[in-house]
């Protein structure tokens, strides 16, 4: 992910500007730069998760304690979150997640395709508002709009980051 055109740094700036204090994540190549920035920041607690739904429950706990959080994952992780998102809906927790897409452009692994196709419908079905970003120059504005909507409107909001924008995964056997 060498060619990320600076958007991960812009995304990091949005998280800082939105006063995000906890960032849950499952390690992900597309989010590698953003995760590294979060780990290096003394005011952000980075929480490595064993599965993505842990991050949904973590976000609820953080909010109960007065802190804003964000969840970083890839599209395959959305499937793991489905039932836990009922916690967000039932209690109307604000919830903000940034999702790197797999299985939609220059994908080498067919096992990524099903969940890629299901990502937006699944999120929508669970009451999560979905934004999608296809171009790097739109990342900052969309991320800011998502943060504003999540914490201003007490809503669950996901930003899908297109695989074409993230770039080909360099993977050799």
């Amino acid at each position: 992910m060498e060619n990320q055109s600076g958007w991960p740094d812009q995304l990091f700036d949005v998280l800082k500007g939105a006063d995000i204090k906890q960032v849950g994540y499952v390690p992900d190549a597309g989010h590698a730069r953003l995760i590294a920035r979060c780990k290096a920041d003394n005011d952000i607690r980075d929480i490595v998760l064993s599965t993505e739904e842990e991050g949904v429950a973590l976000a609820a706990g953080a909010w109960l304690g007065g802190q804003r959080s964000a969840l970083l994952m890839q599209s395959s992780g959305v499937g793991n979150c489905i039932n836990m998102l009922s916690l967000i809906q039932a209690c109307r927790f604000p919830f903000l997640t940034f999702i790197t897409m797999r299985g939609e452009w220059a994908e080498f692994n067919p096992w990524q395709v099903s969940m890629s196709r299901a990502t937006e419908p699944v999120l929508t079905a669970m009451g999560v508002k979905v934004y999608r970003v296809d171009k790097a120059e739109d990342v900052a504005d969309t991320a800011q709009a998502a943060a504003d909507l999540a914490f201003g409107g007490d809503l669950a909001v996901a930003v899908l980051l297109a695989q074409k924008m993230i770039g080909r995964k360099v993977w050799v056997k």
Partner: protein, 190 residues
């Protein structure tokens, strides 16, 4: 063997004002409600497998509070990976207590994995939560209750309880109400 309603009463007998409790979906939520519905308890009616992680997010956000997750063996088994996640973070103000009756009480008392020998204290220790205890009797339970009042490191305890089914005591199930009153109480407590 310990009876669950007596055990919850013993654990909470000297509860301080800075203790906030996340009871897991099912019997432990009814157990906490049996002591009287409180703003400082975040009763779960769903989110099975999420209790410990809600506790972690809260404990990290509010280091001056003592956060106690009290859940059942089935709920803990569904979020077993969260013990690995907590083992990495290890906030000093978080206790995870599992009331283990070795059965799924809400669905007809089917046997759980712990009935077949799965050792939750062993799992917690292997995940790096070294302050982990197996509580089998009243004396050990009182020791645990005392520890909650002076928590200095992440604690895990498995409390072996009888597989009985006391009458359900139901708290509010309006999630927005539960969230708002708990968040307000947590903010006021520090």
């Amino acid at each position: 063997m310990l009876e669950r309603r007596k055990a919850i009463a013993t654990l909470m007998a000297n509860r301080g004002k800075n203790m906030f409790v996340v009871p897991g979906l099912g019997s432990t939520t009814w157990d906490m409600a049996s002591l009287g519905e409180k703003d400082s308890d975040f009763y779960l009616w769903g989110a099975m497998g999420g209790a410990a992680m809600i506790g972690l997010g809260l404990a990290l956000a509010k280091p001056k509070l003592t956060v106690v997750v009290i859940t059942g063996d089935g709920e803990m088994l569904m979020g077993l990976g969260s013990l690995a996640t907590i083992g990495v973070q290890r906030p000093a103000n978080l206790a995870v207590i599992v009331f283990d009756n070795q059965h799924y009480g809400e669905t007809g008392m089917q046997a759980s994995h712990t009935d077949q020998g799965v050792d939750l204290v062993g799992v917690a220790r292997a995940c790096g939560i070294t302050h982990a205890f197996d509580v089998q009797d009243e004396g050990a339970l009182k020791t645990l209750a005392g520890e909650l009042g002076t928590l200095k490191q992440t604690l895990f305890a498995r409390v072996r309880i009888a597989a009985d089914e006391p009458a359900r005591v139901l708290p509010s199930k309006d999630g927005v109400e539960l969230k708002l009153r708990f968040r307000k109480a947590a903010a006021a407590a520090g």
